[in-house]
């Protein structure tokens, strides 16, 4: 088993050029935006003189290539620089925001699996039946609803109407966090469901028609045992990559949810940083997201390897 995970270090090395490419693009793209952080910081009193004075104080008057080299140099020491707006290390900012976004994504993924797996199974066992139609209707509806709208509806229903959940915020303790994250995660989870259900449903239908399921049935395996042992595991393989790709997108999607639910995550941090031209923060968040996508890619392959013994990404000869 373990020897099949030997591809991981190689993958990590491969991601280094990706990361350097990302730094170049992010660094220079952010600076293509008109206006600089000094303008944003000085508010209505900004004058040409004060913008120039503050830009100098912030080191923004140096040549761009020099600023890039300073940024790269610091990066190799694990230092992402200091937020221009908050005068706080970007790593510290990230350390506060990452747990929020990651737990939101994790909980959303969990909730969407809890909803999707039974629904997909329900739909796949009798394709074209009434249940299948119902589930397919739900996926259509899910895809059609904008995230922010669904979020507001859930708040109205479960937080203002029933008052079972808070209206936005993040709370103080770990228990609080879970409680405050539930509604936003549910919103995000529901919007993830359609893709997962569709992929799972169609692969389940294929698996159910396959010969080995027929064999399993003939050996007397039915119901839950058949589903767990033979159907789900095999049907899950294509869905894993669908989820992997979607998680990358979701970091971006969580931005809307974070705004509606007032969560202090990466999305809100990124939006503020862009508006105030806080270059180091923009760079820090983007680098983290790039890193996250790479890691999710690797994790997807790991899960793949575990689910399907035939997959061996570590050896070319055996592949």
């Amino acid at each position: 088993m373990l020897h099949r995970l030997r591809f991981i270090p190689g993958r990590l090395v491969q991601s280094i050029p990706v990361a350097i490419g990302v730094t170049i693009i992010v660094f220079f793209m952010a600076r293509l935006l008109p206006g600089n952080p000094a303008l944003a910081l000085l508010g209505q009193h900004a004058t040409k003189a004060s913008v120039a004075a503050l830009s100098k104080q912030l080191g923004l008057d140096q040549p761009l290539w020099q600023q890039y080299l300073i940024f790269l140099g610091r990066l190799f020491q694990g230092n992402l620089g200091t937020s221009i707006t908050y005068q706080m290390p970007v790593t510290q900012e990230l350390a506060q925001a990452i747990p929020v976004t990651l737990s939101l994504l994790g909980l959303a993924l969990l909730l969407s699996l809890v909803i999707s797996i039974p629904l997909a199974a329900l739909a796949a066992f009798r394709p074209g039946g009434a249940r299948d139609l119902g589930v397919r209707g739900f996926t259509l509806l899910g895809q059609g609803m904008p995230q922010f709208w669904l979020g507001i509806m859930l708040i109205l229903l479960l937080a203002v109407g029933v008052r079972a959940f808070p209206v936005g915020g993040y709370g103080e303790t770990a228990g609080d966090h879970f409680y405050y994250l539930f509604l936003p995660a549910l919103t995000l989870g529901i919007t993830m469901c359609p893709t997962i259900i569709r992929s799972l449903r169609s692969s389940m239908i294929n698996v159910l028609e396959s010969e080995y399921v027929g064999t399993a049935k003939s050996k007397g395996s039915y119901g839950a045992a058949l589903f767990r042992g033979h159907v789900l595991r095999n049907a899950a393989i294509p869905t894993v990559s669908v989820i992997g790709v979607n998680l990358g997108f979701l970091v971006g999607g969580s931005l809307v949810i974070e705004k509606v639910f007032a969560l202090p995550g990466l999305g809100s941090m990124m939006i503020n940083a862009i508006f105030t031209r806080d270059f180091p923060t923009i760079q820090g968040v983007t680098l983290f997201v790039a890193f996250f996508v790479v890691v999710v890619g690797i994790l997807t392959d790991v899960v793949y390897t575990i689910l399907d013994p035939r997959v061996d990404l570590s050896s070319k000869e055996r592949a």
């Binding site: 935006l33 008109p34 206006g35 600089n36 303008l39 944003a40 910081l41 000085l42 508010g43 209505q44 009193h45 900004a46 004058t47 040409k48 003189a49 004060s50 913008v51 120039a52 004075a53 503050l54 104080q57 707006t85 908050y86 005068q87 706080m88 900012e93 506060q96 925001a97 507001i152 708040i155 109205l156 937080a159 203002v160 008052r163 808070p166 209206v167 936005g168 915020g169 993040y170 705004k259 509606v260 639910f261 007032a262 202090p264 995550g265 809100s268 941090m269 503020n272 508006f275 105030t276 031209r277």
Partner: protein, 520 residues
């Protein structure tokens, strides 16, 4: 700048109601503080943005200022109507005959929240630090100050380099708030991580992107205050979410709901939708460095073509008043008869006929992207200018890029907004009419030597009656020149649950939380 009446809360509320009632606000103006104040409780205020920094000398962000004003206090405090000043950490001052030396007596027995007594050397240090922030901070406010010197423990002397009317108003600015000498032995950066002042509340914590919290200063120099045990400002970017939170009692105050939210909350039981007269004015800058805006007829024509009442109705849902002066009603020396252009299509057409472009022209209005208010202002102007033969296009840029374009003079016309930080018109007039004031006359390039001279004279004058006459002239001439088109004055909007009592916002936007309490 802070505002508080140090006596009984009921007095403050009565004053607030009387003064607040002077203006347009027809909803409940201030949450009245009748009955016996209740001790304790945590007040939660939700805002769209987080704080940035607690360093008053170089922070321009209102969200940060409102928090630091509860911690650090100035020598003089602006009163409820936003026009006069009252002694605060100072007890009074005298001016020398030549108008150059101010001798200021300090209040005795005032302690910082770290237990040390405030003395003249703390005052000197605080004002000097603000002056040193120079162009990158609020230092320009202290530009007239030549020297601050310690006379004895409870007296300081401020020498100005030339007679300077706004000095006491300048000292009331938050950037001149009093902090311990030499940052109490800390570095500047370390000090502002957890600032110390003489104010009613002390620093507790800041969870970035989430909340900042202050707790009660038990040794506050005004005995019996504050009532609340703590205040938390939370970050809730979405206006709809803030609205639902205040309805669901999860927060106490929704800071700056948008006007559509405000309208719907007005009718909701259990919440109190409040407006407070402000110094906010929306205006359109004409770029006089670009033809045809160097032609006063063109500027007048555009200004005459704007139906300000329609804008107040459409943009502010009726919560505001049309503007006819470069000063707002909440600013000292405001002249209600400044003669700004009113909506008059016939007059606008006549001005166009007399102008350099009698057959009309095509131009652009620059606004900020993502702002619904500005978008509707632009659309209204677009259709109104069409009537007088001007084809106006709308250009949208995000706030920072927009500011860059205005500073660089890269626009024909642009939307702008101003509000005052000190109770003295000079902060705005010198910025707006003097091409050397840093903004090239409010981005317009307007250069009328007569106005510049009168404005300078007004700033050097210390007699209020004479100043009033001079500022009347400034307002009249600028209106005749139509150097900008005044649109409207809008109030500050807040929505609170009906448990919140004693909350009041001055025309400068400050609020004092020492007098606020929550009923059970």
């Amino acid at each position: 700048m802070k505002r508080r009446i140090g006596m009984v809360v009921a007095v403050a509320a009565a004053a607030a109601l009387v003064l607040g009632g002077c203006s347009t606000a027809n909803s409940s103006s201030a949450s009245s503080a009748s009955g016996k104040p209740v001790e304790g409780g945590n007040l939660v205020i939700a805002r769209s943005q987080d704080i940035i920094s607690m360093n008053a000398t170089d922070t321009f962000d209102n969200n940060s200022l409102r928090v630091m004003e509860q911690i650090m206090e100035p020598l003089f405090m602006v009163s409820n109507n936003g026009k006069t000043l009252k002694p605060w950490l100072a007890t009074g001052y005298t001016i020398s005959k030549n108008q150059l030396v101010y001798t200021i007596n300090l209040r005795k027995g005032v302690k910082f929240s770290n237990g040390k007594t405030m003395t003249a050397s703390d005052v000197k240090f605080s004002i000097d630090q603000d002056t040193k922030s120079g162009a990158a901070g609020w230092g320009f406010i202290n530009a007239a100050i030549k020297e601050v010197s310690v006379v004895n423990a409870s007296t300081v002397q401020i020498t100005v380099s030339h007679p300077w009317g706004p000095l006491i108003a300048d000292l009331s600015l938050f950037s001149n708030g009093i902090i311990p000498d030499n940052y109490g032995g800390k570095t500047e950066a370390a000090f502002y991580q957890a600032p110390v002042g003489t104010g009613p509340f002390v620093w507790d914590y800041w969870k970035k992107g989430q909340a900042v919290k202050l707790t009660k200063n038990p040794n506050y120099w005004q005995k019996g205050l504050p009532y609340l045990s703590s205040v938390t400002w939370t970050v809730v970017p979405d206006a709809n979410t803030r609205k639902l939170q205040v309805q669901g009692n999860q927060i106490d105050i929704d800071d700056t709901p948008d006007w559509s939210t405000f309208a719907s909350l007005k009718a909701t039981p259990g919440v109190n939708a409040m407006t407070f007269p402000s110094t906010l004015m929306d205006w359109i800058a004409f770029n006089e460095n670009r033809a045809p805006f160097n032609d006063v007829h063109i500027r007048t024509a555009i200004s005459d073509a704007i139906d300000r009442n329609a804008m107040v109705k459409a943009v502010l849902f009726g919560n505001g008043t049309p503007a006819y002066s470069m000063l707002s009603p909440g600013t000292p020396y405001y002249d209600p008869n400044a003669g700004g252009d009113t909506y008059n299509v016939a007059k606008a057409k006549a001005a166009m006929a007399a102008s350099s472009k009698p057959n009309g022209f095509t131009t652009t209005l620059l606004i900020q992207s993502g702002d619904a208010n500005q978008a509707s202002i632009a659309q209204i102007m677009q259709s109104e200018l069409k009537v007088i033969g001007i084809n106006m296009k709308i250009e949208q840029l995000d706030p920072t890029a927009n500011k860059q374009a205005r500073l660089a003079g890269n626009f024909d016309m642009s939307w702008n907004q101003w509000s005052m930080d000190i109770p003295d018109p000079d902060e705005w007039t010198s910025w707006a009419v003097n091409p050397k004031g840093g903004s090239n006359s409010a981005f317009t390039g307007y250069d009328n030597p007569k106005v510049i001279a009168i404005n300078a004279e007004a700033a050097a004058e210390t007699n209020p009656t004479k100043r009033a006459a001079l500022y009347d002239q400034v307002q009249t001439i600028t209106s005749q020149d139509a150097f900008i088109a005044y649109l409207f004055y809008s109030p500050y909007s807040y929505v609170a649950t009906d448990q919140v009592k004693g909350f009041y916002v001055t025309p400068l936007g400050n609020y004092q939380l020492a007098n606020v309490y929550k009923t059970k």
